[in-house]
Structure formats: C-alpha cells, structure tokens
Subunit: 81 residues, 2 copies
C-alpha cells in the first residue's frame, strides 16, 4: 500500500522559488505563464499486513510531525495504490 503526501507552502506564504521559475519562464518566451508555485511530495510504501486505516493514520502523523513544517506548510495525504 502506497500513500502520497503532498507538501506545499500555505497559500498565504510567499514562494520565492516558484516566482523565480515563473520569471525565468516568461523570460524564455513563455509569456502566458501567470504564476508558478512549487511543492514536494513523498511516496511512502507501507509494509504488507498493515490495515489501511492504521497506515493512513500513521502517515498523517508522520506528515504533520516531520515532512511538513506546520508553521508555513500544509499537507495532503492520498492513497495511490
């Protein structure tokens, strides 16, 4: 069973890296690009034999504790397989 944890900056937090990418793209002729925001994700495979609810609870705990910084980031967990 594999979960995907998306971690992104909160929408209220500036994303200078994304802004830089956006500026660079426009500078390379992609004039229609209005905005870019960057994020990261983690594909976490859980060992066989763990129940889905328990696994998802553990993944949510891991995401909140160590994968995302709750001050500036938010996360979303989905089961992908």
């Amino acid at each position: 069973m594999t979960f995907r944890v998306h971690v992104s900056l909160k929408t209220t937090v500036l994303d200078p890296q994304g802004q830089t990418i956006g500026t660079a793209l426009r500078g390379h002729g992609h004039k229609s690009i209005a905005d870019v925001r960057q994020g990261k994700y983690f594909d976490i495979q859980v060992a066989d034999g763990v129940e889905r609810e328990a696994a998802e609870a553990e993944i949510r705990q891991i995401a909140g504790d160590v994968l995302a910084n709750p001050v500036i980031e938010e996360f979303r967990v989905e089961c992908i397989e």
Copy 2:
C-alpha cells in the same frame, strides 16, 4: 487554468534522499514504512484567454525542457482547475 507538473526520479534510478527519509522514519519507530521516494511538483497558472490544448502543449514543452531532467526524471501533467 492551472496545471500541476509532477517530476519524479525514474523508477530505475536510486533515490538516496528518499532512502534516508525512510531509514530515519524507521529509526523513529515507524517500523511499517517499507520505502520512501521523493518528488517535486509545480503548480503552473496559465493566463486567462489561452485555450486549454495550447496551454497543455506549452506546459508539456516546459516540463520536458526545463522542469525535468529527461536522463533521470520523468514527469506527468494534469490540469487541476
């Protein structure tokens, strides 16, 4: 219109960063974590008035040219709004 471009290492390429995260999680007591792979994504907002097909073609070109390294990475594009 916003597209999300997921960039991940090809499955045949080792992901030492993901492995390190997995090892750290197991060391913190999350014994059921079998594997972790990390990736990044870009939420790219396209200016109003651009047709969807043209926008998606441009995003795919950008992803292949500058967001992903085709030697070791692969990408996936989805329209999220």
